[in-house]
């Protein structure tokens, strides 16, 4: 089955093309990636909160075949409604797997709140993994319309974190 690294590469490649849907199937399992509105790794299960990581054994959790079909509708529901309702909102996505922090330190105020104006270089949050702190910038000018994740939540590669109403 594919390694997580390889899946990431695939996601990245697909993201740069017009391909809407990608399926990869072997005896061990199936991976299905789907674009549109919110960018999703459809098979990634509720593991978003606490992803079990591949044991030394070959079966990576992302490769378990069973949940694929079941999880899909759920994930679709969970997708932020605002995306389909308002095509003009832009997503700020996580560039890596890690923990989402809305403020620079536990006692500090959040970087941004809904309604705040941001510029492309405004820091909107930190995503941290293995103690590497990545300050995420808005990359666009506009107003924070929605915060899609909670403080301390584990986020996936490519997961939308904010919706920004562009100026």
């Amino acid at each position: 089955m594919l390694k997580i690294q390889e899946i990431r590469e695939i996601i990245k490649l697909i993201d740069q093309t017009g391909i809407e849907e990608f399926k990869y199937k072997t005896e061990e399992g199936e991976i299905k990636l789907k674009k549109g509105g919110a960018f999703q790794v459809v098979e990634s299960a509720p593991a978003v909160q606490a992803p079990a990581v591949a044991a030394p054994a070959p079966a990576a959790p992302v490769a378990q075949p069973a949940p694929v079909a079941k999880e899909e509708p759920k994930q679709q529901e969970a997708a932020p409604a605002a995306v389909s309702q308002d095509e003009n909102l832009l997503e700020v996505k996580s560039p890596m797997v890690g923990t989402f922090y809305q403020s620079p330190s536990p006692d500090a105020a959040p970087f941004v709140a809904v309604g705040d104006k941001v510029k492309p270089d405004s820091v909107v949050c930190i995503v941290e993994a293995m103690k590497l702190f990545n300050e995420i910038e808005a990359e666009t000018s506009g107003e924070i319309a929605q915060i899609l994740v909670e403080d301390g939540q584990l986020v996936e590669y490519g997961q939308p974190l904010f919706l920004v109403k562009p100026e």
Partner: protein, 329 residues
């Protein structure tokens, strides 16, 4: 390497390379195109900087002793491999080397630029926690790396830095430092080094990785503030003798260059092996304390991404991306 003498710094390098043999003042003057008096003035300046230079009649100058400093010349003297290190920018006292390194990186400083200070007055760790950085006692240093990788390959650099410094401490001082996941260095249960890694990145490309190191080198027990007495240690305390800070800094920089190159060229597997071999965490029963929960279990290894794997009591395996690890026993 260019060794032509043209100023005080290059004169120092020349005397260092001579390895205790006298270097003729007349020869130095000719090479630099200055008078012998000008060379003598440089020597006087070096003495003011703390070097001991002996003048041997009719033979020349001999460098007899160097000060306990992290000056560029002293660090370079110990570098086993100078492919990685570019500029070394040395300060007497700064707030913190981290913001200085960020500014240098943004202003175009190349991969391998080093900012080092004798003293930090506002040394800090993760989450803006203060870091005790007394004058002349440690290696308070930030290193700029500019690898051509996407951001999701950057977190592994915290583990690379831990391996680089852990092995440098062993090579230089024969002190058995071990790594607590992901990147604290301990001797026994006391912290000897903290590493703070920060990133400048576009959504798809790393601009710069800044690795900040606080290595406790020559503190003695009473040099630490009271609240750190039970949790901090230094290489000197563990080795039982004074340690050459410049030699240790050079070993750290050599290893950082070596292991980041290894990661870029061969991936994380060789780093994972070195990390696990020198780990304090693997095999221990630990609590992984996160913002929203605490996971207890036995640390069994790290993944190909550096994620810590914990086997919980129900037999499941949890992958930990972000947590403070503490002993559970």
């Amino acid at each position: 390497m260019e060794l032509k003498v043209k100023d005080k710094e290059s004169l120092l390098r020349r005397l260092m390379v001579a390895g205790g043999e006298p270097v003729s003042g007349q020869m130095l003057a000719d090479e630099a195109g200055v008078s012998r008096t000008a060379v003598w003035k440089w020597v006087r300046e070096l003495e003011e900087d703390g070097y001991t230079v002996r003048s041997v009649r009719k033979k020349g100058y001999v460098l007899e002793a160097s000060p306990d400093r992290l000056s560029p010349a002293l660090i370079r003297q110990h570098l086993k491999d100078d492919r990685f290190v570019k500029d070394i920018i040395h300060y007497e006292s700064v707030g913190s080397t981290m913001p200085l390194a960020h500014r240098e990186a943004q202003n175009g400083a190349p991969d391998g630029t080093v900012i080092v200070a004798e003293e930090q007055t506002e040394g800090r760790g993760r989450l803006a926690r203060p870091w005790s950085s007394a004058a002349g006692k440690g290696i308070w240093m930030s290193v700029i790396l500019k690898p051509d990788i996407p951001p999701h390959r950057a977190p592994q650099f915290t583990l690379i830095a831990a391996v680089a410094i852990c092995l440098a401490i062993r090579e230089t001082a024969e002190v058995e430092a071990r790594i607590k996941w992901p990147n604290d260095l301990l001797v026994g249960r006391r912290k000897v080094t903290g590493i703070l890694t920060e990133l400048q990145a576009d959504p798809d490309r790393v601009q710069a990785i800044i690795i900040g190191t606080g290595i406790n080198v020559n503190q003695e027990l009473d040099d630490f503030p009271a609240e750190l007495a039970d949790i901090a240690t230094s290489v000197r305390i563990e080795a039982g003798q004074q340690v050459d800070r410049a030699a240790l800094a050079a070993a750290v920089l050599t290893n950082l260059g070596k292991y980041s190159r290894l990661y870029i060229e061969e991936g994380f597997t060789p780093i994972k092996e070195l990390w696990e071999k020198n780990s304090d965490t693997i095999g221990r029963k630990v609590n992984a304390v996160m913002m929203r929960e605490k996971v207890t279990g036995t640390a069994i290894g790290i993944t190909e991404d550096g994620v810590l794997e914990i086997r919980t009591e129900d037999g499941g395996i949890r992958g930990i991306y972000s947590a403070d690890i503490e002993p559970a026993e």
